[in-house]
């Protein structure tokens, strides 16, 4: 078999696992599990970036793969774990909509994402173009998770997963963004993350809980 076919097949497999992990995140209730899944998602992303870097022979992509490994597989999950331990929020996070319905909606989103991605992937010339739909679907699903969860921590995880999808879209469609942008995004992410972290503590001090439904009390009648 030709090596590029093998790489394409492997990439498809990785893309599918990315989607699978996204669905697993939608279906999990426990925050700890979500973080583990997030780390796994990062790991898959790392592998796919490495593969693309190898097949396209782009050195920058190796750097961004390393960045992914450091940031998304090691650093952020570790921080998140510590955070939820300190916040005491490692257990169940209530969902607003029941899980099978959420997954059904997710299924619809996947179809929509693929429909949306079709014209783009027809234009793209990379061997990974089929996976743009999956990247888009991962973004949508992360969004869906943010919508259907109640706790602040899960929202952050959803936010981070969304960024994973974006990153994957970038690598699969165009072999990655320019390095500057990528570094910028990584920095943004980190800053955003810290700000949100500070918010958690503020929210908890204010309401004695991380349940976001408390925020509804803030609106003026």
């Amino acid at each position: 078999m030709h090596p590029s076919h093998l790489i394409a097949a492997l990439l498809k497999l990785l893309a599918a696992s990315l989607l699978l992990i996204s669905f697993a995140m939608l279906s999990r209730r426990r925050t700890q599990r979500l973080i583990t899944l997030f780390a796994w998602q990062g790991a898959v992303l790392f592998m796919s970036t490495l593969l693309v870097a190898h097949s396209a022979g782009l050195r920058e992509l190796y750097y961004s793969a390393a960045l992914t490994l450091l940031l998304k597989v090691i650093a952020l999950p570790w921080i998140l774990h510590r955070l939820i331990h300190r916040l005491g929020a490692q257990w169940d996070s209530e969902t607003l909509v029941n899980i099978p319905t959420t997954m059904l909606v997710g299924l619809g989103l996947v179809i929509f994402a693929f429909g949306l991605a079709q014209p783009i992937s027809r234009m793209a010339t990379t061997i990974t173009r089929n996976t743009i739909g999956i990247a888009l679907a991962v973004i949508f699903l992360a969004f869906l998770m943010m919508i259907t969860r109640r706790k602040a921590v899960t929202q952050v995880i959803g936010f981070l997963a969304m960024e994973n999808g974006l990153f994957f879209a970038a690598t699969s469609a165009t072999y990655g963004m320019p390095m500057v942008i990528e570094l910028g995004i990584a920095l943004d992410l980190l800053v955003g993350f810290f700000i949100l972290g500070i918010f958690f503590f503020q929210i908890r001090e204010q309401f004695d809980s991380l349940d976001l439904s408390n925020m509804e009390a803030l609106k003026e009648d």
């Binding site: 179809i111 693929f114 429909g115 079709q118």
Partner: protein, 679 residues
Amino acid sequence: MSLAGETSRYMVAFAKHDLSFLLMLICGWVILGIVGLVRPHRMGWIARILFPVGALIALGIAVLGAIALLSGHAPQIFLLPLGLPNLPFHARLDTLSGFFLLLLGMAGAGISTFAAGYFRSGEGTAPGLLCLQYHVFLASMALVILADDAYFFMVAWETMALSSYFLVTAQHRIPEIRRAGFLYLLMAHIGALCILLCFGVLQGGRWLFTFDAMRGASLTSFWASAAFLLALIGFGAKAGLVPLHVWLPEAHPAAPSPVSALMSGLMLKTAVYGMLRITFDLLHIRYWWWGVLVLGVGLFSALFGAIFAAVQTDMKRLLAYSSIENIGLIFTGIGLAILFEACHLPLFAALALAAALIHSLNHSLFKSLLFLATGSVLHATNQRSLGKLGGLIRRMPWVAALALIGTLAIAGLPPLNGFVSEWLLLQSFLFTPQIPHAFLNMLIPLGAAVLALTAALAAYVMVKFYGVIFLGQHREPSLVHAHDADWLERIGLAWLALGCVAIGVLPQLALRAAGAVTETLLGQAVNLTSPFWLIAPITSRQASYSGLILLAGIIGVVGITFVGVRILAHGRMRRTVPWDCGYPWQTSRMQDTAEGFGQPIRHIFDPFFDMERELPFPTDVAPHYRIHIEDRMWKTLYLPIARGVQRLADWIGLLQGGRLSTYLLYSFLTLIVLLGFVL
């Protein structure tokens, strides 16, 4: 060899006059009905003579239908010297009619035999009148299938609606039955109106209402689609497609059981026939979105029917909802066929259409069987509510055994017939990714998921149906006196059960019959070359199935196991009280009720139902539990329409002042306006 040649020559000679024989037989039914009127209260005469003769006529019609189907003749045409001057009735017999006549005759023979044992004199319509209505109903269904012009078709169609209306309201002293009958008549007429309009569109401006003229008419895509949609609404209302299904669960249970069987088993199929006739024969073109529409409606009806059947507590209502499910499956097949045909994949279209046709045939057999079985149960126990039955397998072994066959068949279990059509339908879903539309080829394979869910739910429903009625302990003490069905009823049931087994075991026969129809309608049939005991509709590599060998395998393995256990172990046995984890005070009230058995479905599919619940408190001394489930369609669709009509009627009602001079003024003004037009 020479014998076979001789036989086939006779068959050919005979087949030439098929249609006239058929019409004579149908006349025979009407005559039977009129003879019944001569002595309308002689039960023995009507039941023991007329109904069995009607069954024989049905058998004859089935045979003639089969000959028309398999002889491979060009369609036969016959002009009836009836009807209006210059508008004679045209009759035509082709393979499609042949198939549906076969269906009508096969199931009709069983039902009429059963009815011979079933009807007794009592409340409501006199037996003689019932006999007339019953046979006119049968005859009108056969004429619908044979009609070859819009005028004849509509006359037969309306006769069918009216005669069945009178049969539904046989026990017209009960208000609910009158209400059900009214609803049925209303929906039947809305449907008939749409069909009439559909014919109006189909004639395409030439004002010729024979089907032959319609075949030649070339419609623009707009008018073709309009005709198709009108046909879908019209026949959908008769078939009970969601959301036009509301009359079905009311009317079918209200009728006496043989009539329920006729309506569910046969009348719904005339709607399928009409749909096929118009879509594949009269219309010269088909668009892919028609297929998607029919497919969507069919799948939704199937799922809807199965879910609602699972929560019913009345055995006949349960079966009525199950009919909606099965009609949904049939229309799913039709939708797929339209879609494939429009996408120029005729072989797959033939497969999907064959699945729909065979499922129609199957449904006419097993649904009739089950409705008749509920009739026997009803006679034996006077109970329709599942909550008051139970344990009848010990009192009515014959009915229980035959109903078990129907139950397993309708649950889609191999090696019976329900499985065959579901298998074919699933096979045709496998080809949907080949549809050359970007979005469709992703979406439609998901229909297979809905289909699989529906099929599995049907098994759930049927376990509930059979388990609650026939198994367990008697829920009422009076059930001890239940008696088994009499011999005519048993023959009727056994005939239908035999049909279920035969098609299940030799599906190639049914596939040949359906193949002849698809050959006419689509110019293509699935692969029929495999031996008689095997079906391999596309290629034998793709898929093959043999009910016969599967049945032989099951019997063989079960037999060997039984003998082996007896030889290697022993056959010792003693009878004790049930164990039930050692709980000593068991009463029949501790079994699952019908409500209890439906609970998981209510829980899972909660959004489908409009539920009212009264739950007991833990502190209640006399706990009371009540649940009432309504169809959401009533509140969201029908009641608003009814209110709108009422408002319109009120508004028009203003014209009705009650004063004679005002009315005269209306007439006068109308006259003036009309004269003004003439000027």
